[in-house]
């Protein structure tokens, strides 16, 4: 039972990292990213391939940096696009990443995946217990990222992002470089997704392309919607409750014995979809609403109105 709770806690950490990243991009900056899974996968593969060569810390930094660089690159190309177009470009990017991983076997081992990924503090884990050490590591990582992102949300950068989301025209008229701010938001989000991917790889110690389906993206969106767009605290609550819900459905198998494995996973994925729609309808402000900070607070002269 304890082992099971530890597993859930670590999965929540990964989901929360991905969610925090999307919360920066979509929740705070208003930029849709349907390619979340692509950045997570890049981070996971970078960590898996580099850790044996250079050790976990440099590998993890590289995972974040590579993901951030690709995210910035994609943003440079497409961030000017209106949301419907940005959505399809990012979705397409996610698919391209999947295809590359699947087809470039010399690097990624294709569909077979990469086994035996060394965990950070593995030797320490042998004496104390692997998962106990790992959960401290995961929680520590989450805490660092959370504090960094919270600091960012309160900084002029974060305020400017929300101002752009609420009214890009006014904000750019006031001399903010909307384009650059959006690219930065995408890059930072990409970095966090890469780190989340690395954590995922370290925890499972084995990765293959089947772990990186668009469902990862859907989870992240649900976490952000559930938590309340823009609120990092809400995001943690959102990611936690989703994992609880998802893991809870595993028990359905015991309650409804006629259900087989495929049906169970279909049920869980369908619930995620229904959850997204329901939460959008019922809780437009999420479980923990974003504190009211409008463009007018940031930019005194932005007021006016109709």
């Amino acid at each position: 039972m304890i082992a099971y709770l530890v597993t859930i806690a670590i999965l929540v950490c990964v989901a929360a990292l991905v969610g925090l990243a999307l919360n920066l991009q979509w929740g705070q900056a208003g930029l849709v990213n349907f390619g979340v899974v692509g950045f997570v996968a890049i981070g996971a593969y970078a960590a898996a391939l580099l850790t044996p060569q250079v050790g976990w810390l440099p590998a993890m930094i590289a995972a974040g940096a590579l993901s951030a660089a690709l995210s910035a690159g994609l943003a440079l190309l497409s961030i000017r696009l209106e949301e419907n177009y940005l959505a399809i470009v990012t979705l397409g990017f996610g698919e391209v990443v999947r295809l590359v991983i699947l087809n470039e076997g010399w690097l990624t081992n294709g569909a077979l995946g990469i086994p035996d990924i060394p965990r950070p503090f593995a030797s320490l884990g042998e004496s104390i217990g692997g998962d106990a050490v790992f959960i401290v590591f995961a929680l520590g990582l989450l805490a660092i990222v959370f504090l960094a992102l919270e600091g960012m949300a309160r900084s002029p950068f974060g305020r400017a992002l929300r101002a752009i989301r609420d009214d890009a025209t006014v904000t750019s008229a006031l001399g903010k470089n909307v384009f650059l701010l959006r690219v930065k938001a995408f890059a930072v989000g990409g970095a966090v997704m890469g780190v989340a991917g690395a954590l995922h790889a370290y925890y499972l110690t084995y990765i293959d392309p089947s772990q990186f389906t668009p469902i990862v993206t859907a989870y992240a969106f649900m976490a952000v919607i559930a938590g309340g767009r823009g609120s990092n605290v809400g995001l943690l609550v959102g990611a936690g409750s989703i994992m609880a819900l998802l893991e809870g459905t595993r028990f359905l198998k015991d309650v409804i014995p006629v259900i087989d494995g495929v049906q169970l996973s279909a049920l869980r994925l369908g619930l995620i979809g229904a959850g997204i729609v329901l939460l959008l309808i019922l809780r437009p402000q999420g479980l923990v609403p974003e504190p009211k900070r409008r463009a007018a607070d940031v930019l005194p002269k932005a007021g006016g109105g109709r």
């Binding site: 349907f34 696009l81 419907n84 399809i88 049906q263 049920l267 994925l269 979809g273 729609v277 959008l280």
Partner: protein, 287 residues
């Protein structure tokens, strides 16, 4: 070889034309990108499979059932999800459509599993013409799509419903004060779009194996076609679909077939970068 690929590409393009048309109509009238196009196509394929294989109906009967089923699903999704979120803007709607997509895809997976399925149709010998192999399925696809396109074009141009749909696309609040009930037009739009996606599902099921991801595999080509044609332009979507179909098939001459899907993505990216309005107009850049 090249001629064969070109021909196959035209047929693939015709296959993509119906869902691309559906995507572009929803975008024009209801103002959001419907990410559930792929899964609605999947639903159509399964509905037809049940009618054809389990109930023993001939394929055209099964196609009618598929069209009705997906039209019903579209109405339901509109009633339960999209209509309630209408006032919240297109980002919310497109995220919601992703949720709807997951629901539909997994309803199919729940009832039919991940196994591949196929219609119960007689195998027939391909025809040879000028060195090109033409399958019976390809002929069926081409004729069905051509008839659908003519009908949709006539509907949009010559009927009160078509006028009203174009008017709502042009200026929804003006249409309302000219007596057009937006709600009615939205519902009828979903019926039309659902029927198109249902038929597209049947045709896709003729072309390849039916599984829960059959529609998802077309998702990016569908978007590429509609964006190429300028989202919101029906004529453009059809032209875009033919270009995408041919480009995907012909790409086999220069890149590994594993990377076929990258073609559509590259077309989208290149187009949005260099010609942000598509071939036929429509604004892609934000303010």
């Amino acid at each position: 070889m090249a001629a064969q690929l070109f021909f196959n590409g035209l047929v693939t393009g015709l296959l993509i034309a119906l869902p691309a048309l559906a995507l572009t109509i929803v975008f024009g009238v209801l103002k959001f990108a419907n990410f559930a196009v792929g899964s609605m196509l999947t639903l159509g394929a399964y509905a037809a499979w049940v009618a054809n294989v389990q109930l023993g109906l001939p394929l055209f009967g099964a196609a009618a059932i598929a069209a009705l089923t997906v039209a019903g699903a579209g109405l339901l999704a509109d009633q339960l999800a999209f209509e309630r979120l209408r006032a919240r803007g297109s980002i919310t709607l497109l995220v919601a459509s992703m949720g709807v997509s997951l629901v539909i895809e997994n309803v199919c997976r729940f009832f039919f599993g991940n196994a591949s399925r196929g219609f119960d149709v007689a195998l027939s010998r391909p025809i040879r013409w000028e060195g090109i192999r033409i399958n019976q399925e390809q002929i069926t696809i081409a004729i069905t799509v051509a008839v659908c396109l003519v009908l949709v074009d006539a509907l949009l141009r010559f009927t009160p419903l078509g006028r009203a749909m174009r008017a709502v696309a042009d200026n929804a609040s003006l249409a309302a004060v000219r007596g057009v009930e937006r709600r009615t037009i939205a519902r009828l739009t979903w019926v039309l779009v659902g029927a198109l996606l249902g038929l597209a599902g049947v045709l896709a099921g003729l072309d390849r194996a039916i599984d829960p991801l059959i529609g998802w595999n077309y998702q990016i080509p569908i978007f590429a076609a509609a964006i190429l044609g300028g989202l919101g332009s029906p004529l453009g979507a059809v032209a875009g679909a033919l270009v995408i179909g041919v480009a995907e098939e012909m790409s086999a001459l220069v890149i590994p077939t594993n990377y076929r899907q990258v073609v559509s993505f590259s077309v989208i990216l290149a187009l949005l970068l260099f010609r942000a309005n598509g071939l036929f107009g429509a604004k892609a850049a934000r303010k």
